[in-house]
Amino acid sequence: MDILYMLIPLSVALAIVIGACFGWASASGQFDDLEGPAHRILDDDDRAH
């Protein structure tokens, strides 16, 4: 059971890394438009926008 002493801090550290990644993604605007990109992929004209 001593392994818990490694696993639990590891999972906490991992959660913090994931949280930081999400914070960065959100701050760079990746979640601003949740619908547009789904339609944009059907748009053949790559120059638009």
Binding site: I8, S11, V12, G19, F22, S26, A27, D32
Partner: protein
């Protein structure tokens, strides 16, 4: 500090007692020089001869005290009539006398008390909304992530039959603490800020119990972790924060969508225009900014291009889509002499237009201003909901304290969990979200229909309407004459019509327009030496022969028997004659709106009665009423009669909506419980009504009534749900039958239920009511 001196000197030092956040200082020199530049983009809408109104976006608003300070301070400035600041949208509406002050002076005045103001600009609002939405999403997602981790760490304590070993329990609690800390410190920050803000204004907002619950549970858990004994509630805290944030994010998205639909009208119609200089001699095209156009300019609008200004067609024939103004995507035919409005899209072929009105004077901007004003004011229903929620929060704090106090005698160890459960389970969110969520969703639906509720309480009154009174001309009918019948007394109809069209070709009289609009039945002929005789008709020469077209008595009285020219109800008869005899009579009538019968039928299906009141002669009104299927009608009514008619209905207990063209029915519109201006979007600037429905499409009135009814049905459902939920859940929690975790789940579920119920309004397809 200059700002502080200004505030003290003005005797507004009470601000320092009210405010709850230190102000960010504003670099004065930088601000000073930018005022005039900023003011030049400001939009001042004239209210009447002496007053104007402008919308400003204010940065740095933190609390109710800021709102109070700015409103009070601005109202004291010379020339400022009134100012209202909306904390939620950071928008200020300032009414002032342009003769006595200007926007730059107002911006300077706002800066003097420490805020930065800009002319309201949709792009800036969008940036602010995006920032808010981004921050909320980040907070909600991080709280969800932490919640999952903390749940896993809490699971062993729930499943282990004989408890977890103390050393591992301590480790797990410590890990939970590390994961919960950012949730409390960062994700839950808006609740603490909100609670502090309301507490310092001595108002009980719904953030107060949330903040107390989170803080108490977290503090107790930290204490238990450090002491190594007692219960920890990290799982409850993270779950509670995550779910409340999710509910708020959903609510923000509903509100944003409603805002987006309104913003569509606020954008500029078209950034550029193609001006024809020297028209009609030289046709030289020059591309200029649409703002640079002036009335009288001639512009060319290519196919698929947005019309840059309100204008009259001088050349070309096309169909134009006015969806941005009227919500109706079916294009309307436009020919020479017709008006086209800024924002509409030219669909078929190029048009040459003479500009009538630009920028702020266009119908599009008038609609946008109405929409902005409608969005800025809060209906009484929403204010009432706020007051109820506040009382409720107060009662809730008392109940939680009482429960905790009682439990210290029964079982001291459970006093804290019970108090937390009471605070958390209760649903001030559902209670205070019930009304605003439904109103926001309804605003979005109505904005898509281009129905504008200008007065804040209009929607509520609309939902109770039992009787709709219609004006006739311009409302039931299009207000334009239309050729109904031709009686040829010599030769054939086509020939006579061709002659009549030739005579009327150059005229702008409504009768002439009705004749000229007809598709030409044969090769057109040309009339020479046409003279119009005021009040009688026109006279001209076609192929050597002299013709008259006009009032039968004038055209040629002797050969026409009187019966031929008796106009039927609501009709006008004109006669075409050569020098010897009458050749044909033309009957013209006021055309019914095609979708009126369907509207009346759908109102009847909804249990709403209709009647027509008009100034026209009773026979005409009866005829029109019969055609659209309205039983109650009244003709030859003066404006005062219309008012009395409505008052009589109200005396019978009816809630009356008056539908008119908004220009001529002032007494009736003012007397009705709710007034609806409907019709010609071009005259919109003169409209004074509670609800504005620009353009054609009468069905939208029926849909607006249906939406209003559904909205308030949903508000009632939401309030009932919130009350029943609280009535059941709070006693359960106070009696100790709910753990804080179950309380958090219940509270969030009930908030989400309310928001999702409201969003049904947005998704609901307009109900297709059969005509019969």
């Amino acid at each position: 500090m200059a700002v502080a001196q200004t505030i003290r000197a003005a005797g507004l030092s009470a601000f320092y007692e009210r405010r709850d956040a230190p102000a960010a200082s504003l670099p004065r020199d930088r601000a000073d020089e930018s005022f005039d530049a900023a003011a030049s983009e400001a939009v001042v809408a004239p209210i009447d001869a002496v007053q104007g109104e402008t919308a400003l976006l204010i940065e740095g608003l933190r609390c109710g005290a800021c709102v109070w300070l700015i409103e009070t301070w601005l109202a004291r400035q010379a020339g400022v009539c009134s100012a209202s600041v909306n904390l939620a949208t950071s928008r200020a509406r300032v009414r002032f006398a342009p003769a006595r002050t200007d926007v730059a002076a107002i911006l300077r005045a706002i800066a003097a008390v420490g805020y930065r103001a800009h002319p309201y600009d949709p792009a800036r609002r969008e940036a602010m909304v995006r920032k808010e939405s981004r921050a909320l999403l980040t907070r909600a997602a991080l709280a969800l992530l932490a919640m999952m981790q903390v749940m896993m760490l809490a699971a062993p304590a729930y499943v282990a039959s004989d408890g977890v070993d103390a050393e591992y329990a301590a480790l797990m609690n410590l890990a939970s603490l590390v994961l919960t800390l950012p949730v409390v410190a960062y994700c839950a920050w808006p609740f603490f800020a909100g609670a502090w803000r309301s507490a310092s204004n001595r108002i009980l907002g719904m953030d107060v119990p949330i903040a107390i619950g989170v803080a108490a549970a977290f503090a107790a858990s930290v204490w238990a972790t450090l002491q190594g004994e007692g219960h920890v509630y990290f799982d409850s805290v993270t779950m509670f924060v995550a779910l409340v944030l999710c509910a708020r994010w959903l609510e923000l998205r509903v509100r944003e969508r409603a805002g987006d639909a309104l913003e569509a009208t606020a954008r500029d119609a078209s950034p550029t225009a193609q001006r024809l200089t020297g028209y009609p001699d030289v046709k030289e095209v020059e591309t200029v900014a649409a703002r640079a156009l002036a009335p009288g300019d001639v512009v060319r609008v290519a196919t698929g291009v947005t019309v840059p200004a309100d204008a009259t067609v001088v050349d070309g024939r096309s169909s134009v889509e006015e969806a941005i103004l009227t919500g109706e995507s079916r294009p309307r035919a436009k020919g020479v002499g017709d008006r086209v409005l800024a924002g509409s899209i030219n669909r078929e072929s190029p048009l040459v237009l003479r500009v009538d009105a630009v920028g702020e004077a266009t119908a599009l901007r008038a609609i946008a201003r109405l929409a902005e004003r409608a969005a800025a004011e809060r209906p009484a229903a929403a204010r009432l909901a706020d007051r109820v929620a506040r009382t409720f929060v107060g009662a809730l704090l008392v109940i939680a304290a009482a429960a905790a106090f009682a439990w210290t005698f029964i079982e001291p160890a459970r006093a804290l969990p019970v108090a937390i459960a009471v605070l958390v389970v209760s649903c001030p969110c559902a209670l205070s979200l019930a009304t605003p969520a439904a109103l926001a969703a309804a605003a979005g639906t109505l904005a898509r229909l281009r129905v504008l509720c200008v007065r804040p309480n209009a929607l509520e009154t609309l939902s109770r309407v039992t009787h709709v009174v219609f004006d006739k001309t311009g409302t039931i009918t299009t207000g334009a004459l239309k050729l109904v019948r031709i009686d040829a007394l010599a030769d054939d109809e086509a020939l006579q019509l061709t002659r009549a069209m030739a005579l009327e070709q150059g005229s702008t009289h409504p009768i002439a327009r009705a004749l000229v609009e007809q598709p030409s039945p044969r090769e057109p002929v040309v009339a020479h030496d046409v003279v119009a005789i005021q009040g009688c008709g026109v006279e001209g020469t076609i192929e050597g022969e002299r013709y008259r077209l006009g009032r039968p008595a004038w055209s040629l009285p002797t050969t026409l028997s009187p019966e031929d020219c008796v106009p039927a109800a609501g009709e006008i008869v004109v006669a075409l004659a050569d020098t010897k005899r009458v050749l044909a009579t033309f009957r013209l009538g006021d055309e019914l709106r095609a979708d009126m019968p369907a509207l009346i039928a759908s109102l009847r299906n909804a249990g709403i009665r209709s009647s027509i009141v008009s100034g026209d002669d009773p026979a005409t009104v009866a005829d029109v009423a019969g055609k659209v299927g309205i039983a109650a009608h009244r003709g030859a009514a003066s404006p005062e009669d219309k008012r009395a008619f409505i008052a009589a209905l109200q005396a019978r207990g009816e809630v009356v909506a008056m539908v008119g063209d908004g220009v001529n029915d002032a007494p009736g519109l003012a007397r009705a419980d709710v007034s609806i201006a409907f019709g010609n979007a071009a005259t919109l600037a003169q409209w004074t009504a509670d609800v504005v429905v620009p353009g054609d499409g009468a069905q939208r009135i029926g849909r607006a009534l249906a939406t209003a009814r559904r909205t308030f049905r949903i508000v009632r459902q939401n309030l009932a749900w919130a009350l029943v939920y609280n009535a059941v859940a709070i006693p359960l929690a106070a009696l100790g039958w709910l753990t804080p975790l179950a309380a958090a789940a219940g509270m969030s579920a009930s908030s989400l239920a309310v928001v999702l119920n409201a969003s049904r309004l947005r998704n609901a397809k307009p109900r297709r009511t059969a005509a019969r």
